[in-house]
């Protein structure tokens, strides 16, 4: 068997998938990043190798997500692409004819509009993370319900309460207010879902034409309460694809396939990556008043990449013998 690996290093989760040559996804792995992207990537690759039959050949590797450059350097990826392109590629391949992609992840949310198979518009949330997975996580923890049951409880609601969803801080105080008034938990949760959907559609969907088929993906798509709130607000059926939580990784694998087809061969380092020691360090450059934070990655004590400098003084020149600071 031959295939491609896609790695999506997000703020909350790190996903690794293996996709065979016919584009069939196998072994999706969903891990928590837990603030350690390098370890998460290594763990993901180790798990992937264990779950695969022997004799599998890796034809290429792609990375995406906010940690894509870091992961790309560690595994020496063939394709390093932003998450918007990766999500769009994955959806349009797995759900042919898709016209709208709603994606809500741990700390960001985006909307992608496709027309005749091509991205025609997109938008990503700004600095504000209201209405993303982390906020739902936090609220579930406050109400002492496991996040996995959040959606189910919300679905039981008959009359969702009104909650101000403009800002996470206000939404929380509004929720507390409603809870102290004696509203039912399921009504509060369903109300929260509706508030977040409203916020999402106002912020990201502003001025965009949302047409069916609509696909909802990202970790939050597991929450049936959110799915129902979207259906109610848009009055359109919402599809949640099978691999909704690893779509970025699927996209990265597809992009790797494309890149390798163009280049001829992969530069993947192999699974030994998960056993090599990587260390990341950073220092503040004192070359000028910009004081850039330079990040460096070392493999077995030897620096393999640096970035973060505006002028390119550190990033361009890498002395192989240098030790990590």
């Amino acid at each position: 068997m031959k295939g491609y690996i896609g790695i999506d290093v997000g703020s909350v989760s790190t996903n690794v998938v293996f996709m065979d040559e016919d584009g069939i996804v196998r072994d999706p792995i969903y891990l928590r990043t837990q603030g350690q992207p390098i370890t998460a990537v290594q763990k993901g690759l180790r798990k992937l190798r264990e779950s695969m039959p022997p004799g599998v050949k890796i034809r290429g590797v792609g990375t995406t997500g906010s940690g894509r450059s870091l992961a790309g350097i560690i595994v020496r990826a063939d394709a390093i692409k932003n998450e918007i392109t990766a999500h769009a590629v994955a959806s349009s391949t797995l759900v042919p004819g898709v016209q709208t992609i709603l994606e809500i992840g741990g700390q960001d949310s985006k909307i992608i509009i496709l027309r005749s198979g091509v991205v025609s518009d997109f938008s990503m949330n700004n600095v504000c993370a209201a209405g993303t997975g982390s906020f739902l996580d936090q609220q579930a923890a406050r109400l002492n319900i496991p996040i996995e049951e959040f959606g189910e409880i919300a679905l039981k609601s008959k009359t969702p309460v009104g909650i101000a969803g403009r800002c996470a801080v206000f939404a929380e105080s509004d929720m507390i207010h409603k809870q102290q008034m004696g509203c039912d938990l399921s009504d509060i949760l369903a109300g929260l879902c509706e508030a977040l959907v409203r916020n999402y559609l106002n912020n990201l969907g502003k001025g965009k034409e949302i047409l069916s088929p609509v696909v909802f993906q990202g970790g939050v798509a597991a929450n049936m309460g959110m799915v129902r709130a979207f259906e109610k607000a848009l009055r359109l059926p919402i599809q949640v694809p099978t691999y909704y939580n690893v779509m970025g990784a699927v996209g990265a694998a597809l992009l790797a396939r494309e890149a390798v087809a163009k280049k001829g061969q992969s530069q993947f380092k192999g699974f030994l990556v998960s056993d090599t020691e990587y260390k990341a360090g950073s220092f503040e450059c004192s070359g000028c008043a910009n004081q850039c934070e330079v990040v460096e990655i070392a493999e077995g004590g030897i620096i393999i990449a640096r970035w973060g400098d505006r002028c390119g003084k550190w990033g361009n020149v890498i002395n192989q013998k240098e030790k990590i600071s």
């Binding site: 906010s66 692409k81 932003n82 998450e83 918007i84 392109t85 005749s116 198979g117 091509v118 991205v119 025609s120 518009d121 997109f122 990503m124 700004n126 600095v127 001025g207 000028c288 008043a289 910009n290 004081q291 850039c292 505006r310």
Partner: protein, 325 residues
């Protein structure tokens, strides 16, 4: 020893620096320029500026403070109007008076530049500014004439497709022959206030980034005055501010050009006019089917967010183009 006149490298520096440099030098003064923006300059500005102003004004505070120790006079005109029957943003009008409150500053050349009634307002301003250095009227008139000539040449260079820094390098003979930018696969229009898009620090090097991703960057300053004014006149109602008019006129002009593949608008957080021109341009771009991206910059913008959006935007533009061809 000649009198040292300090000019901050912000705001309308990108339009009128060549002119005032020649003017002051012809009067026998030495022109001192603040260094390109850095983290330190911005931090100084943030510390000293009032809270309500926009990012570029805050940055100007930092630049002026930097000049305090280097110059005998600081050139900081009170700019009321730079076009007949048009005003400029009121923050320019209040700038000298906001800055005056800083401690330890040399005297300010805070002459009024008001061309609302007629264009001779520029000469009146030059006369008043010149009197800070000499009382010889003929010398001032002569210097002003030379300055105008230089200014015309500078605007001509911009209209050839050079960026301000490149055009200034040509003007000051720092380069023999600045090459015009090589045509790339795609043309991307970058619309924004000159002091936002050309300041490589606060714009996170957007021009260089777009170029390195394979795009030719076109800006509003490349469009001749007659053309952008004609296009801006197509609006049902005249926009108030000169720079807003310039931006929207140029955007409308580019929307009609078939060789343009995408448009990026850069807005400063807290800029009132930007939020309106940005939205107006977005509506016209959408109606014309032009891919459009709105980026908002402020003092704590992470570079990653800008890079991801730009990458995804260019992917989208190239993807679209590949399919059309």
């Amino acid at each position: 020893m000649p009198i040292k006149v300090g000019i901050p490298r912000t705001l309308l520096y990108y339009y009128y620096f060549p002119m005032w440099k020649v003017f002051f030098e012809a009067l026998g003064a030495e022109v001192v320029l603040s260094p390109p923006s850095t983290k330190r300059l911005l931090a100084e500005g943030l510390k000293n500026a009032v809270d309500e102003v926009c990012l570029p004004i805050k940055l100007t505070f930092g630049h002026v403070l930097d000049l305090a120790a280097k110059a005998d006079l600081i050139f900081l005109p009170r700019i009321v109007s730079i076009e007949k029957k048009e005003y400029i943003c009121p923050k320019f009008l209040g700038l000298p008076d906001m800055i005056r409150n800083l401690k330890g500053l040399p005297p300010l050349i805070d002459v009024n530049v008001n061309m609302y009634r007629n264009k001779s307002g520029a000469y009146i301003a030059a006369q008043e500014a010149g009197r800070f250095i000499t009382s010889n009227h003929f010398k001032i008139w002569n210097a002003y004439r030379q300055a105008r000539k230089v200014q015309k040449k500078y605007f001509r260079l911009l209209q050839l497709g050079l960026m301000p820094s490149e055009a200034m390098a040509v003007m000051e003979d720092r380069v023999r022959n600045e090459h015009l930018p090589e045509p790339q696969d795609i043309n991307v229009v970058l619309i924004g206030h000159p002091y936002n898009i050309y300041d490589s620090y606060i714009s996170m090097n957007i021009i260089k980034r777009l170029r390195s991703m394979g795009a030719t960057v076109l800006t509003a300053e490349h469009v001749p005055e007659k053309i952008y004014k004609k296009c801006a006149a197509c609006l049902p109602k005249k926009l108030f501010w000169t720079l807003g008019q310039h931006m929207i006129g140029a955007a409308l002009y580019y929307l009609n050009r078939h060789d343009v593949s995408g448009m990026v608008h850069v807005a400063a957080f807290g800029c009132g006019p930007d939020s309106m021109t940005g939205d107006l341009i977005e509506r016209y771009a959408r109606a014309a089917g032009m891919p459009f991206l709105n980026l908002t910059i402020d003092e704590h913008t992470g570079e990653a967010g800008i890079v991801t959006r730009l990458e995804a935007f260019l992917d989208m533009v190239m993807w679209k183009k590949a399919i059309i061809i």
